[in-house]
Amino acid sequence: MKMTRWFTSAFLLAVLLLGLGELGARLFFAADISGRFEYGYSPDAGFDERRDGVVKLFRAGGRRFHPQSFQRQRPDGTFRVFVIGDSVPRGPSFKGAYPWLLGKELQQCRVPAEAVNLALPGYGARRCQVVLKKSLEFQPSLIILHVNDSNKYEDEREYRRSQEFKTWHPRNWPMKVFIFRRLYEAKVEKVFWPLVPEQIRAKFAARDADAQVAASTDPEEVKARVQLAKATTAASVALARENRIPVLLITQCRMWPDGSGSFYFEDHGLDALGQSLAGDGVYFLSMKDVFAHLPEGRAYFSDSGHLKESGHLLLAKAIVRKIREAHQQLGLTAFKMEAPFCHSERSEAK
């Protein structure tokens, strides 16, 4: 009664609605909002480690994992492959992406393989490293790191956004409320970025991580970002190797028209990076090598960088060949690895 004397019923209703919204979000969507505002830099977002020992991958915290599950403790004898990367390995669909196809191919070769697709769209080297760190907790037999240089921009932008409201300064208090922050974020991503041209946002919007990063066309800054991406990839490889996990680097290539109606493939120096890192327990496969020599290489691409399902299948087969080459080092000696060692390669040979 006293409250309604001080505040109008309408005001109290507004507070109640907002309070209920916040409470509902925190109660019923607790898992979904975990790490939501880390923008991919949360160590655990998207990994639901259940009491029964199953790890479920779900969409949370800016991580759009394909829904999958695996045992926290790797079953004895299982060859567990984690594929970490961006939208290319994530694929056009879960079963149309090379991680799934790789698992199938290996199983056809009687390898008890378990391939998990940990790829996330827009993830560059920095955020892939966060996923890699988490994946090391689940005893992978092989980590496939899909190296691309096109997402360093998103990495930087999302890092800035993750830092934006971190402190407990009073100006950031409203953004500690989930529904406020979610609405703010939705407006930024779904309204502000698509509707207002970048040239305008860069100059006339007070705080805009997207435009700020996009506007930094300073060649030195861009170069520094590429260097950071490469150094981070090297650090990720080193991290995996410290844990004695073999790493297969797949370096991205891009396909461009050459002006004469034909196409050429470009690796942006990633192949050189792959070669430089290859060595003890680190293997390297160039996408350019896989596709460039094919007469209709471009037919496997849906755009300059993304693969069609046929491209994913071809890449999966190439990875199987690479694994076969290194089967002894990868602990796959118990299996028949002579060439052609499995159904798919036999049919390819025919």
């Binding site: 309408a10 907002l18 300064h169 406020f180 609405l183 703010y184 509707l195 919007a205």
Partner: protein, 526 residues
Amino acid sequence: MSFITWQYLLFLPLVLALYWRLPGRWRLVLLLVASYFFYACWDVRFLALVLATTVIDYLCALSIEGKSPGPVPVLLLALLPAAWLGCCSLALPASGINTIIMLAAGAVGLAFFGAHEIIRRLAPEKRPRLFLILSIGFCLGILGFFKYFGFFLDSAHNLLTFLGLKPNRVLLQIILPVGISFYTFQSLGYVIDVYRGHCPACPSLLTFATYDAFFPQMVAGPIERGKHLIPQLEKTQVFDPVYLQDGLRLILVGFFKKVFVADNCAILANYVFAPQTPLNGYWAVLGVVAFAFQIYGDFSGYTDIARGSAKLLGVNLAVNFRFPYFARNPSDFWGRWHISLSTWFRDYLYIPLGGNRGAKWETIRNLAVTMLLAGLWHGANWIFVLWGAYHGLLLILYRVVPALRSLGDEKSASIGKGILAVALMWVLTLAGWAIFRSANLHQLGLWLAALGHWQTGLSLPWVSSSLWLLIHVAPLLLLQILTWKSRDETDLRLLPWPVKGVVYALMLLLIVSSTEHDTEFIYFQF
């Protein structure tokens, strides 16, 4: 300190908590200290100007009524601004206050004291008028020096150069004190009211100083009349929950207009009116529409927050905006836009000039002079004078062209005519905003030229940006529709309370969703 900072959101509750706990007179002390602190957060030095205006008008008003204090108090008060600067220079050596500035302030104080003493010794019947002139002279002198000196110096230099002479350029960097036009006009209005007998001279310096520097409205209005605000400050208020309810509502609506509407529209307006922006007709129109809503949301939002803050202290401030974009004619527009300024010019300039009582050409002259000065009030720039002239022309045309008068007449018009009149006035208002927002005549020319080019060319795509504008303007228009019947832009009392509750919640969500584009209030620069 700005209303849209977290500092203000801490400052206001602190002031309120103390205010309602303190007994009568101490509340004024608190309000004065809080107001000076609020102003000093921008620039502690310019508090000397507020003090000067306060002292001059306080003494002149008392002297007009023949209640002038003795020479010693007058001298001490006249030297108060110089003393303040001295304290600042001692406490803040980096403030840039040097001996010359302090001596100048002291000289102005002594000059005022001397003039005051001379007038006091004259015949009683001459004194009121001369004290009024003294007040107007000193206050407009301060305003003129800080706001217009550089402008007139530059204009004189340009004119002489144009005439083929080669004058030496005098460089004098004068910083424009925040809100100087507002508090100077408020203070002047009070002295004129005292002179006319519309308002008694305030005997308490504490009350008058609080009136002059009342923090909710000091830097950007509404420009309050002494007879309206001083009695409210003098009265010891008893807390009423209605103050809290109305105050919070006004602040919420103010933040909505400023943060959601104005700051988001500003992104497009700033782009269009930035130098070297390639414009076509679409962008020119989009930019000026965006600016129209920016300046409206910005200024009326500020006023609502000011009114809400004052209401929380139990003080009612004047309504400054009343659906201005639904005006049907130029005269109606000025009865809805920045009402406290337009009524100030009406009462203290237009009517004393003769208003519309004389011949038609005299009315035209009076309108022209009033609007030119109203334009100049907005800023030391010929573009504002042009804007004032443009609105003066609209007012004159409306007065002399019968067809326009018939179209815009509120009483006799049909619904169709009314819609046409509102639409026509809206377009005319937009043209005025194009003048107002342009940095100079060259930019205005480019904007006008863009209206002749509707090809896409180098310009950015405009459709998505129009959608951005629409998203931010539509909720404001919806709010105006909801409040239309109550004749107060912030009053939702005619809605059922559950609907009001939902509207409040939505407004809060929209405010929070827009916190990334915070920009300063436009009218602070005036």
